[in-house]
């Protein structure tokens, strides 16, 4: 009986160790800054949604509502510009559009972009990368 137990335990350990000996690759960390900006964008949008709800429920005056909303909108603009790294035209329209679609289904489910592996060295790269971050070869 106890042989069986030893065998089971060892089998599990070996099963866990196996991946260590497989051909290996690494993944690329997403940038902390990009993470933070995405976070801030989400926060501003959430804030505007809450503000509109509070206003509809009669929790703040129209004057307060307008001034707070304006400051949120310009913050949203700043964040988006920072994310994209450039001044963008029609920013406010885009934000308004984003806002009106908040909490709604997006028609085609966003395809989750997979990180792409380099064909020559196997390293993982960001989806938008054109060249491998590790060996510099072009990614197809």
């Amino acid at each position: 009986m106890s042989y069986l137990a030893y065998l089971t335990g060892v089998a599990f350990l070996i099963w866990a160790i196996v991946p260590l000996f497989k051909k290996d690759s690494t993944w690329v960390s997403l940038y902390v800054e990009a993470d933070e900006l995405a976070d801030r964008k989400q926060r501003v949008y959430g804030n505007i949604a809450d503000l509109e709800f509070d206003f509809a429920m009669g929790r703040l005056s129209e004057k307060d509502f307008n001034s707070i909303r304006a400051s949120f909108l310009s913050e949203a603009g700043r964040v988006i510009e920072k994310i994209e790294g450039q001044k963008t035209a029609g920013l406010m329209d885009r934000i308004q559009n984003d806002l009106s679609n908040l909490g709604k289904k997006t028609k085609a489910k966003k395809k989750i972009k997979k990180q792409s592996n380099c064909p020559s060295c196997g390293s993982e790269n960001l989806p938008e990368a054109k060249f491998c971050m590790k060996c510099g070869k072009e990614l197809s």
Partner: protein, 661 residues
């Protein structure tokens, strides 16, 4: 079978260490193979522990009395069902259950995130694996449930088996006891998941709200289990301990309340971080404290430290726990200090009258409550260190502090949601609070003249009324706003409104649950009781109720002998019900136990206990309690579960092209 279980359990130790090491290495090197190995380690740990648990169950069910744990917690006459749940009746078995749940959660987390969050997952698995390692050390080396019985024959120790076990503690032979420990344990252990994500965020520097979003459901589920576990513990105490109440500020009860307090604080303060980027350190601290307090709670429950410091020191568990909790605390604090610059708030507080300041007060009160309960619970230990005597602070001490804090929190439940973020003007405050306050004042006046003179009770009823009013108005007003914009009918609008923001409205439902439970708690102010020695045919009174002893029955079965008093209960000469408390004496454990009988209505419980025989053996002593509103506590708990489940539903998303417009 004992060997089998023991060996499999032993493997948990190397597997946990392996998992921790590979996970950490994966974090540093970002190698996929290492992460895969760590993940498999988590699965393997779950597998071997599951097999070990099954082995112990087999031993319990087949009554293998060569195993110390089986002999101490079961006996032959014990019903099969109780043999099975004896897994968590004792020390070592409960630790194994804890360990098993940790491995289960670790496997679930590893599986859920197998394709995502590669950056933080190594450290998440690492943190959980460290916990796993600690519990495997406890289960394998210090409190092994597979230990066999030994006796000294000459100079050698030999294994032996007893004829029959000592049986399950009679107090534990109750249906609530079957589910209470596992539910509470899931609540305790679940806190390890948000904790692990928080630690991983601190290690990797990814300190945004990502880790909070990822663990939202875990935190809420854990909180729900903890809440239900606490209430079930109260229910068990109420029906099984026979002293007439459900909460006595007992160290073990407090141990479960502590992580609940910090977890509740976290569920609120997290919203400030999401909206304002503030309180980042504080949220981390709350998640970490919840986890540490959960481990501390397990330690307190299983070590007996408060009843006697010395008993726990001998068991070997105490020092191990102390070291683990101490190290975890220190390391967590160091990590927080290391990241303190990155955890700076993005914004400042703008106004004292705002939603965020409401949350802030809420957190302050929860913090006060946590400190008070912790201090009161540990006071016997602290006093023993300094004076040599254990000085216990009783329920009055806790009530004096916790009733005001509880009521203040309840009040905030009503006020907070009505405040706007950032700034609320005086004008809108008047509009929101005018009628509910007026209503509460009228209620207090009416109650006072009806005869309610207790100040706290009046305050509690007034606040409950106020909160209930504001919540109902929130739902109605929200639905009306939506109806105006969408053209849906009122009920549809109400449904869509709540489904579109399940967290907000689930939260409101939980607030309703709290109001209902507080009404139940307030009932304690009106409790009354009486004690009588009765022979067959005697009668006595409690309030408007008359009790008449009809018959005293003696009988017995294999498990216990019992005396039962059958009484008729009537009000104004009209028979309402029979009520028959029982006293049992369990043979195997040589322990008595009281089986109370409770007549429950929405308005009050009539609770009868058979305390024993009178000195001359002619009569029985019966104690009857009249406890108003107790059922509100259980109903509140049920609403709480509904609210928690609702809050966990994903938000309903309308289709972009119109839909419900």
């Amino acid at each position: 079978m004992a060997d089998l279980g023991n060996i499999l359990l032993f493997f948990l130790f190397p597997i946990s260490v392996f998992t921790a090491l590979t996970a950490y290495a994966a974090g540093v090197t970002k190698r996929r193979g290492l992460l895969e190995a760590a993940r498999r380690g988590a699965y393997a740990a779950f597998a071997v522990t599951t097999l070990a648990v099954l082995a112990l169950e087999y031993l319990l069910v087949t009554s293998d009395f060569s195993i110390e744990y089986v002999a101490s917690n079961t006996n032959l006459a014990l019903p099969l069902f109780y043999k099975m749940v004896a897994l968590w009746a004792g020390h070592n078995g409960s630790l194994l259950l804890w360990t098993w749940i940790v491995t289960m959660f670790s496997a679930i987390v590893a599986y859920q995130h197998r394709h995502k969050n590669n950056d933080i997952m190594p450290y998440v698995i690492f943190t959980i694996a460290i916990t796993m390692t600690f519990f495997s050390v406890l289960s394998v080396f210090i409190a092994n449930p597979f230990e066999t019985l030994y006796q000294e024959i000459g100079n050698t120790l030999q294994e032996f088996a007893v004829q029959d076990g000592r049986g399950l503690n009679p107090l534990l032979q109750h249906p609530a006891m079957i589910i209470h420990p596992p539910i509470l344990f899931i609540g305790y252990v679940g806190s390890v998941v948000p904790f692990a994500f928080a630690i991983a965020a601190l290690i990797t520097g990814k300190l945004g709200t990502g880790w909070i979003h990822t663990t939202r459901r875990w935190a809420l589920t854990t909180w729900g289990f903890l809440s239900v576990g606490i209430v079930l513990g109260g229910k068990w105490a109420y029906v099984e301990l026979g002293w007439g109440g459900y909460w006595a500020w007992d160290p073990v009860e407090n141990a479960s309340l502590l992580p609940w307090l910090t977890a509740t604080a976290y569920l609120h303060s997290v919203m400030i971080q999401e909206r304002k980027g503030m309180l980042k350190v504080w949220n981390m601290a709350l998640v970490i404290s919840t986890y540490l307090l959960s481990v501390f709670g397990t330690f307190l429950t299983r070590s007996g430290i408060v009843s006697s410091v010395h008993a726990f020191a001998n068991s070997g568990l105490g020092p191990a726990f102390a070291v683990f909790i101490g190290l975890s605390t220190i390391l967590s604090i160091l990590l927080l200090l290391y990241r303190r610059k990155d955890l700076k708030p993005d914004e400042e507080m703008e106004s004292l009258v705002s939603r965020e300041s409401g949350f802030l007060f809420n957190n302050l009160l929860f913090l006060l409550a946590t400190i008070a309960v912790l201090w009161g619970t540990l006071f016997p230990v602290i006093s023993e260190i300094f004076t040599g005597d254990q000085i216990t602070v009783g329920p009055p001490w806790f009530n004096n502090i916790m009733i005001p804090i509880g009521l203040a929190l309840l009040l905030l439940t009503g006020v907070g949601p009505l405040l706007a973020w950032r700034h609320t003007s005086v004008e809108t405050m008047k509009r929101s609070f005018g009628y509910p306050i007026l209503g509460s004042v009228v209620l207090v006046i009416i109650l006072f003249f009806v005869g309610v003179k207790d100040g706290w009770a009046l305050g509690s009823f007034a606040i409950s009324f106020f909160v209930m009013w504001t919540i109902v108005v929130e739902f109605i007003k929200g639905a009306m706003v939506r109806r105006k914009n969408s053209g849906e009918n009122f009920l549809k609008a109400l449904y869509m409104l709540s489904r579109k923001n399940t967290r907000r409205y689930g939260g409101y439902i939980i607030h309703v649950a709290m109001v209902v439970m507080f009404i139940g708690f307030t009932g304690n102010a009106f409790n009354s009781e009486t004690r009588a020695e009765v022979a067959e045919g005697d009668s006595f009174q409690l309030g408007p109720y008359d009790f008449k002893a009809i018959e005293i029955i003696h009988d017995q079965n294999d498990n216990y002998s019992a005396e039962t008093l059958i009484m008729e209960m009537s009000r104004n000469g009209r028979l309402i019900s029979t009520i028959s408390p029982q006293k049992r004496y369990y043979f195997a454990s040589e322990q008595p136990s009281t089986e109370v009988d409770i007549y429950t209505t929405l308005r009050e419980d009539i609770y009868a206990v058979l305390s024993g025989m009178s000195n001359d053996g002619e009569k029985v002593i019966v104690q009857v309690y009249r406890n108003p509103f107790v059922s509100m506590v259980w109903i509140g708990a049920f609403i709480l579960v509904v609210g928690t489940l609702f809050a966990m539903l994903p938000n309903y998303r309308e289709s972009k092209s119109g839909g419900a417009k």
